[in-house]
C-alpha cells in the first residue's frame, strides 16, 4: 500500500475519531439546548466537561494532517467553503468559551444564556460538517486553477442537506446515549430520545444512500471487501443500539452507536477512495490522493510522526476517559 493511501486512511481515522468522540459531546450540547431545568443542564455539561476539549483536537489534527498530506485539497475545500467555514469557526469559538463561562457567575440567567449558546453551536456544527462532507462526497465544480467554482448556495443541495441532517441525528443519538449512562434521574427520558434519534439516523442513512444512487452513484461500491466489512459493522451496530437501550445497558449502547458512526465514516471513505474532492464539471480536475499529495518525504516524515504520536495519544486519552467514567459528581471544581 502506498503512503498516499495510508494518509487517506489516517485522515479518515482522525475525522472518524472526531465524529465518534466529539459526536457525543455535540449531541450532549443538543440535549442541553432542549432542557429547561438548570440542574439537569449542569449535569449534562459536567458529564462532558473534562473530555470535550480533547475530543475536539481530533478535528484540529485532522485539519492539520489534511494540510500536510494533501495541501491542494485543504486549500480548495477551505477557501471554497469559505462562508460555511466561518460559521463553523464562530460555533467552535462559542462552544469553547460558553462551557467555560457558564459556571463562573452564580446566576441562572447568565447560565441560561451560555447554555443556549453552547446548545445552538452544538446543534449547528454537526449539520455544517455533514453538509460539508456531503458536498465533498458528491463533488463540486472545480475551476481551471484548482479553486472551488460554485457559490455558497450551491453547497445547500438536497444530498448534502440530507447528510447534514444525518450527522445531526447521529450525534443526537450518540449524545443522548452517552448521557444516559452518566445521569440517573434523566435516564429513562434520555434512552427514549436515543431510541427516536436512532430511528431518525437509520431513516436518514437510507435516504442518503438513495440520494447517492441518484446524484453520486460512484459512492456505492458494494463489491469492495472494505465496503462490505463496513456495511456489516454498520448493520451490527445499528441492530445492537435499540437492543441495548431496551435493556438499559448504556455502555453497550454507546459502544454500538460508536460502531455505527465509525462505520458510516468508513463507508464514506470507501466510496470516495482514491478521490478526495471529485470535480463535477470536468473529471480531469478531480483531486485525488495521487495528483494532490505532498512529496514522498513529507508523507513519510508525517507517517513517522503519526506512528510515534498517535499510540501515545490513544493511550492517555483512554486513561483520561477511564478516570472520568461513571456517574457525574458535581464538585466545587465543576462548571
Amino acid at each position: 500500500m502506498t503512503l498516499n493511501a495510508i494518509w487517506f486512511i489516517l485522515i479518515f481515522v482522525l475525522l472518524g475519531g472526531y465524529a465518534v468522540l466529539d459526536g457525543f459531546d455535540l449531541g450532549a450540547g443538543v440535549m442541553v439546548l432542549f432542557s429547561r431545568d438548570d440542574g439537569k443542564r449542569r449535569h449534562f455539561i459536567n458529564a462532558i466537561a473534562p473530555v470535550w476539549d480533547g475530543n475536539e483536537v481530533w478535528l484540529l489534527t485532522g485539519g492539520g494532517a489534511l494540510f500536510a498530506a494533501f495541501p491542494p485539497v485543504y486549500a480548495t475545500v477551505f477557501s471554497g467553503f469559505y462562508l460555511a467555514l466561518m460559521v463553523v469557526l464562530a460555533c467552535l469559538i462559542f462552544r469553547a468559551v460558553s462551557i467555560e463561562f457558564r459556571g463562573k457567575i452564580d446566576n441562572p440567567r447568565w447560565r441560561r444564556v451560555w447554555d443556549t449558546a453552547f446548545g445552538i453551536s452544538s446543534l449547528l456544527l454537526p449539520v455544517l460538517f455533514g453538509v460539508a462532507l456531503g458536498n465533498v462526497l458528491r463533488g463540486v465544480p472545480i475551476t481551471g486553477d484548482g479553486s472551488y467554482g460554485g457559490s455558497f448556495f450551491d453547497l445547500l443541495n438536497p444530498f448534502a442537506l440530507i447528510v447534514g441532517l444525518l450527522a445531526l441525528a447521529a450525534c443526537t443519538m450518540h449524545g443522548a446515549i452517552y448521557l444516559s449512562g452518566k445521569n440517573e434521574p434523566s435516564q429513562i427520558r434520555l434512552i427514549r430520545i436515543g431510541q427516536i434519534a436512532w430511528a431518525a439516523t437509520l431513516a436518514l442513512f437510507v435516504a442518503a444512500t438513495a440520494a447517492a444512487l441518484w446524484t453520486a452513484p460512484m459512492l456505492l461500491v458494494a463489491s469492495n471487501p472494505f465496503a462490505m466489512a463496513a456495511m456489516v459493522l454498520f448493520a451490527l451496530g445499528t441492530a445492537q443500539v435499540p437492543l441495548a437501550l431496551h435493556r438499559r445497558q448504556s455502555t453497550i449502547a454507546f459502544l454500538a452507536s460508536s460502531v455505527m458512526i465509525a462505520a458510516m465514516m468508513a463507508l464514506a471513505a470507501v466510496g470516495l477512495f482514491p478521490r478526495l474532492l471529485p470535480s463535477t464539471n470536468d473529471p480531469a480536475r478531480t483531486l485525488t490522493i495521487y495528483n494532490s499529495s505532498s512529496s514522498h518525504l513529507t508523507l513519510l516524515t508525517m507517517f513517522i510522526i503519526a506512528l510515534i504520536g498517535m499510540p501515545l495519544v490513544i493511550a492517555y486519552t483512554a486513561v483520561i476517559h477511564h478516570v472520568f467514567r461513571g456517574k457525574v459528581v458535581i464538585t466545587p471544581d465543576s462548571y
Partner: protein, 447 residues
C-alpha cells in the same frame, strides 16, 4: 473591488485573528509553568497556602486557556480559507509542523488540562501534579511547532522549488532553520515574563483588597523572583541573540527595525527617534555611535547594509517596523526595572505594604502582552513584502477565489466575537479577583 483589496483584507483578518489569539497563550504558557512550581510545593511540602494558590490560579488558567483555545481554532483553518495559494505552495513543508502540533501538543494539553481542572479529587496527588506538568509541557511543545512553522517563513531551509511549489528535502533543516532557536527562546521567555506579570499583578490586586491574604503574599513573592530572572534573560542573552540572527539572515528587516536607512560602517544604535517617510528619515534622534555594529557583529567598525541597498520592491514598511521594535525594547527595559524594584522591596520587607507599587503591578499586567504583540509585528511586518522570505510574495499568497465582500463579512464577524470575548474575559477575571482565593484549608483533603 480589485484583487489588491482582497489581499489587504486577508492580511488584516490574519493580523486581527492572530493578534487577538496571541494575547492568551503567553499567559497560559507562563502561568502553567508557575503552577508547576506552586503545585509541587503544595504536594511535596503539604503546604496549604500553596494548595489554595494553585486552586485560585488554576481557575484563572482554565479561563485563559479556554479563550486561547477558542481563538486559536481559526488559525488552523485560515491558511486554507484565506491563503489557499500559500497553502498549495508551502503545504509540503508548512503543514507538517501544524499536524505535529496537533499530534504532540494539542492532545497533550487539552487532555491533561481536563484532568488537571476536574481531576483534583479523582486521581492521586502525584498524577494531578503530572497533569499540570503535561499541560505546561504541551503548551510549550505547541509553541515549538508553530514557531518552527513561522520561522520557516522567515528563514526557509531544507527545501527545493519544484513544479511550482516548495518541496521538502530535509525535515530537520526545515524545522531547525536558522531563526528557529533564537525565536523559540525569545518567545518562551516572553511568555514567562507575561505569566510572571500576570501572577504578580493578580496577586497585587488581591492584596489591595485583602492585605492579610497569605495566598497572594506567597504568589506575589514567587512571581517577582521568577519575573526578575526571566525579564533579564529575555533581554540578555535572548533578545541580543535574536537580533544578531536577524542581522545575518534578514538584513532588510534588521535595517528597518533599527532605523538604518543608509549603509554605514560603525553603525549607531538609535535609542529614540521619530521616523518619517518619504524619504525615510529619523527626526529627534538620540543614538550611541558604533553600538549597533558592535552588538550585531562584535566589531564597532563593522559595516551594516542600510535600506538604500535593497530593491525598493523588497523592503518592509519602515515606520511600523521601527516603531513596534523600539517600543518593544523600551517595554523590555521597563520589565527589568519593575521586577528589580519589586525584588528590592521584597528584600526590604516592604513589598506587601503601600498602595502605589501594588497598583503599578496591577496596571502592568497587559504590558508584556503589548510587548509580545509589538515584537510579533516587528517580525511579521519586517518580513514583508514576502510571505515566505525571498521565495513567495504576500501578494501571490492569498486565496484568489474570494471576493472582498465575504472577507469583509468574516472580519466583521470575528471583530464582533472578539470584542465580546475580551469584555467577558476581563469581566470574569475581575469577578474572580474580587472573590479572591478560597480560604486556606489546613487539613489535607481526602483523596
Amino acid at each position: 473591488m480589485n484583487g489588491l483589496d482582497v489581499g489587504f483584507l486577508c492580511r488584516f483578518q490574519f493580523a486581527l485573528t492572530a493578534g487577538f489569539h496571541f494575547l492568551f497563550p503567553p499567559i497560559t504558557i507562563g502561568l502553567a509553568w508557575l503552577l508547576v512550581i506552586v503545585e509541587w510545593r503544595a504536594w511535596k511540602h503539604h503546604d496549604a497556602v500553596a494548595d489554595a494558590a494553585a486552586r485560585f490560579f488554576g481557575k484563572l488558567l482554565g479561563l485563559t486557556f479556554a479563550v486561547g483555545v477558542a481563538t486559536g481554532i481559526p488559525m488552523e483553518f485560515q491558511f486554507g480559507t484565506n491563503w489557499a495559494r500559500y497553502s498549495k505552495f508551502v503545504g509540503d513543508i508548512f503543514g507538517a509542523p501544524l499536524a505535529a502540533e496537533g499530534v504532540f501538543a494539542f492532545f497533550l494539553e487539552s487532555g491533561f488540562l481536563g484532568l488537571y481542572l476536574f481531576g483534583r479529587n479523582r486521581v492521586a496527588k502525584k498524577w494531578h501534579f503530572f497533569a499540570i506538568c503535561m499541560v505546561a509541557f504541551g503548551a510549550m511543545i505547541s509553541a515549538f511547532w508553530i514557531l518552527a512553522a513561522n520561522s520557516w517563513m522567515q528563514t526557509p531551509a531544507g527545501y527545493v522549488l519544484r513544479d511550482g511549489r516548495a518541496e521538502l528535502t530535509s525535515f530537520y533543516q526545515a524545522i531547525c532553520n536558522p531563526s528557529m532557536w533564537p525565536r523559540f527562546l525569545h518567545t518562551m521567555l516572553a511568555a514567562f515574563v507575561a505569566g510572571s506579570f500576570f501572577m504578580a499583578g493578580i496577586s497585587a490586586a488581591v492584596l489591595l483588597r485583602d492585605r492579610g491574604s497569605a495566598v497572594a503574599r506567597y504568589t506575589l513573592k514567587l512571581a517577582v523572583i521568577c519575573g526578575l530572572v526571566v525579564s533579564v534573560l529575555e533581554v540578555f542573552p535572548s533578545g541580543h541573540l535574536h537580533a544578531r540572527e536577524v542581522a545575518r539572515e534578514q538584513p532588510e528587516k534588521f535595517a528597518a527595525i533599527e532605523g538604518l536607512y543608509s549603509s554605514q560602517s560603525s553603525a549607531p544604535m538609535v535609542m529614540f527617534a521619530i521616523p518619517f517617510t518619504p524619504p525615510p528619515t529619523l527626526k529627534a534622534k538620540a543614538e550611541v555611535p558604533g553600538l549597533l555594529s558592535w552588538l550585531a557583529f562584535g566589531n564597532m567598525h563593522a559595516r551594516i547594509p542600510g535600506i538604500n541597498e535593497f530593491p525598493s520592491d523588497g523592503i518592509p514598511p519602515l515606520w511600523m517596523t521601527f516603531v513596534s521594535f523600539h517600543n518593544m525594547v523600551v517595554l523590555g527595559m521597563y520589565f527589568i526595572f519593575v521586577m528589580a524594584w519589586a525584588a528590592l522591596r521584597l528584600w526590604q520587607g516592604k513589598l506587601f505594604e503601600g498602595t502605589k507599587f501594588l497598583k503599578l503591578l496591577v496596571i502592568s499586567i497587559p504590558l508584556p502582552l503589548a510587548a509580545c504583540e509589538l515584537g510579533w509585528m516587528a517580525a511579521e511586518v519586517g518580513r514583508q513584502p514576502w510571505a515566505v522570505y525571498h521565495v513567495l510574495r504576500t501578494a501571490d499568497a492569498f486565496s484568489s477565489n474570494l471576493s472582498a465582500g465575504v472577507v469583509l463579512a468574516s472580519i466583521l464577524l470575528f471583530s464582533l466575537i472578539y470584542i465580546v470575548l475580551l469584555i467577558l474575559y476581563l469581566y470574569l477575571l475581575r469577578v474572580k479577583v474580587i472573590h479572591g482565593p478560597d480560604a486556606v484549608v489546613e487539613q489535607e483533603l481526602p483523596v
